[in-house]
Symmetry: C2
Subunit: 286 residues, 2 copies
């Protein structure tokens, strides 16, 4: 498999790392970057991540056989609208959005109906850093990529996107859109909400400078994800608000129960929860 | 400063690392270990962490000029009771308990009144691993140690414990007992509760194996502390239940508000929270 012209719409950590990984695998001839920030795009050319750039989506997808959309979820619809009518007939479109139902809806609204060559996807990879300077070619090595094809998706398009990610060293799975959104609400969106919310709660306490001064190693790891991009996470939370809202309510009620258990001094019950958690965490962390 | 005989009651990560750090600083002549598990104590001798051991607290403190108590919070009172009447007149006692009001109460109950040579302390250090094999001499390097002297504490005893920790490379602060417990509830005990509780909540969802399979890097860091010792954390949570219960309720109510904000699709409000959190986290993480 060789992509002749790859258009990366949104050249940051996710899009940039895909371009680098495909170059490393010698699986792409030319990479066109598209975005709004001139200095970021120039940096991307300088780093060899892309060959050239444009600020215009229509121009970026012109002649591209593979289009990867890695813009914030809130910009998906306008991005799809901007490429409408400018795509090659057999161009494959895929994306890296963290909430799939919202991307599918954006594409449906933008294109009128879902193009059969559109393969929604989500690389479960990333760091708390963003921008093309944070990109690196091995980001997807041994990481999971979830593709959420729809009944309208052409099997060949799905196979091509699947193969593209495997060339990046990724482990590819296919899943229903709704299921993806539930799983990610639990493992990614809720933890981010908790980390942001905890740090904000502490930051608003009156002795907050002192509080952070005594935060130990565990706290630093626990809150690392609160250093992630606020705009990106606002978009993700809003985009997946149904599944995430449900997880959040479930968890808030767990905490209320936990507080009752604590007030009652029920050590056996606490121990049971902590032991179950440790066993589960040790199991998946191995 | 040179300790002639150091008794470490509870030879795990915390007690073992203190012994190793003091040996490295050439600040101790002899180290006696005390605990229940024979194999752990034999391992401690083998690793050179302690010189010899006993299972009997009274025997361990006999002739010791410095006694460091690093047993679980639930065992503090019986440990103090066991050393009562066997301490040298000028022996200094300090501890590593993570909740100070409960240790002070245990000491008061065990000794009848607080010994003037008792200096409650808490090293803000540790990893999710436990046991003497996890100990290492640089654990306290540049880490904060909080001492919470009482009005009954002799200034010389406080100065000696302060100097001992500085020899381990630590940064020592003094604080009121209640204030310590509030700060630690916020930065350590609540995060542990959240991590244990989140992992347990996910572990109880029906597709839990799959859920953990799609957990990315951020999740692994976020939940690392859920691999900590369940028994130790049960004790800490119970010991600090007043301050922790208050933090837990405050946070559960934050989450309920967050869920309303999310349901209403109030992106500006979400962004405000996330931006404040990122700014605070980036500030203290530097």
């Amino acid at each position: 498999m060789k992509i002749q012209r790859l258009a990366i719409i949104g050249v940051g950590l996710i899009g940039g790392s895909l371009a680098q990984a495909l170059r490393k695998a010698d699986a792409v001839v030319e990479v066109i970057g598209c975005g709004r920030g001139k200095s970021n795009l120039e940096k991307a050319v300088e780093l060899g991540v892309i060959d050239r750039y444009t600020h215009d989506v229509a121009e970026a997808v012109d002649g591209a056989d593979m289009v990867f959309v890695a813009v914030p979820l809130g910009a998906m619809k306008s991005t799809f609208q901007a490429m409408q009518g400018h795509l090659m007939a057999d161009a494959i479109i895929t994306d890296g959005g963290s909430a799939k139902a919202s991307v599918v809806q954006a594409a449906t609204e933008a294109f009128g109906q879902l193009p059969s060559n559109f393969v929604p996807g989500h690389p479960i990879a990333g760091t708390e850093h963003s921008g093309v300077e944070a990109a690196f070619p091995t980001l997807y090595q041994n990481r999971r990529i979830i593709l959420t094809p729809l009944s309208s998706t052409a099997p060949e398009a799905l196979a091509t996107v699947d193969a593209m990610w495997r060339l990046c060293g990724a482990d590819v799975t296919h899943m229903e859109v709704e299921h993806h959104d539930e799983v990610l609400a639990a493992t990614s969106h809720l933890p981010h909400m908790l980390a942001f919310s905890l740090v904000d709660t502490l930051a608003q306490m009156k002795e907050n400078d002192e509080i952070f001064r005594y935060a130990a190693g565990g706290f630093s790891d626990f809150t690392r994800i609160a250093s992630s991009s606020p705009v990106m996470w606002r978009d993700i939370c809003l985009a997946n608000r149904d599944a995430l809202g449900e997880m959040l309510e479930r968890f808030a009620s767990e905490l209320t129960d936990l507080s009752t258990i604590l007030r009652e001094g029920d050590g056996d019950h606490l121990l049971e929860i902590f032991e179950r958690a440790k066993a589960a965490r040790d199991r998946f962390a191995n």
